[in-house]
């Protein structure tokens, strides 16, 4: 399986140390680029600004770990005006196509529409709830 580009989705406020290390370790032998994505879902400007900073902090923490490991990395902070399973799924589809990623690692409890995802893209998706991601025994919850 070609693994040149990995899209890692993380939530703005949740630490994902284990899953980001896992992603970096997966990227390293493949010399893959990691696109780290966070999406701000809240449309309220005041709250959005606060979450915005938390999201950037999360992205830059992962960037720093990737940099120290010599991994190519790009950061993406996207916004959605409306919270919905379909919106989030569509954003994943759009970005996966746009950056031609080979694998999605979805470190989130957010709901996504698997059927829609299946019909939109044909790449593997690895779904890991963030509360599990600091547990070394983290298990693969769903592999398409």
């Amino acid at each position: 399986m070609k693994l040149e580009k990995i899209l890692l989705y993380v939530e703005p406020k949740t630490a994902v140390d284990t899953i980001s290390r896992f992603t970096i370790n997966l990227a390293r032998p493949n010399n893959a680029r990691v696109f780290v994505l966070s999406i701000i879902l809240h449309p309220m400007q005041k709250i959005k600004t606060r979450i915005d900073e938390q999201a950037w902090k999360r992205l830059y923490e992962i960037e720093e770990d990737a940099f120290e490991a010599g991994i190519k990395i790009s950061l993406l902070l996207e916004e959605l005006e409306k919270i919905s399973r379909d919106n989030l799924t569509q954003k994943l589809i759009d970005l996966s196509k746009s950056y031609q990623v080979d694998l999605i690692i979805f470190a989130s409890n957010a709901k996504i529409n698997i059927n829609k995802l299946n019909s939109g893209i044909t790449i593997p998706i690895f779904i890991v709830p963030p509360q599990s991601t600091n547990n070394p025994d983290v298990k693969n919850k769903s592999i398409q």
Partner: protein, 151 residues
Amino acid sequence: MHKISEIILSDGVVLDVLGTEKIAVIKELAQILINKSVVTNPDEFFKAILRRENLESTGIGQGVAIPHARTSAVKNIAIVFGRSKAGVDFSSLDGQPSHLIFLIAAPEDKKTEYIMTLARLSKLLRKNDARNKLMNIQSPQEVIETITQYE
């Protein structure tokens, strides 16, 4: 934790950078940090900056680039700012040239402050009004005032 307006050097503002490509612009801005003795080992600092540029796109989109390095070649955390009316290719994911370029230098042992600085600056520069204002300012002092206003 320092505010952005507290660590951006008051004499570290270049309203029209001379460079037209990213390495030249980074060197131009880094020279200010060297002259101010913020960077104590220029070779090591450039190496750290260039290594990151090879691994990442420090262009964060919307006409903004934040080249950065955390290394023992830096004495204290500092930011210098350069503006390019023509724009410089920082390999932004949105494909747009960068007009507002903030170079961040941080000491090796200031990881938390460094990451918070990156996060706060990135947050600030997502505001359309702040970016528009920075594109149209006429003096270095206005840069500090604008950042103070929006952070």
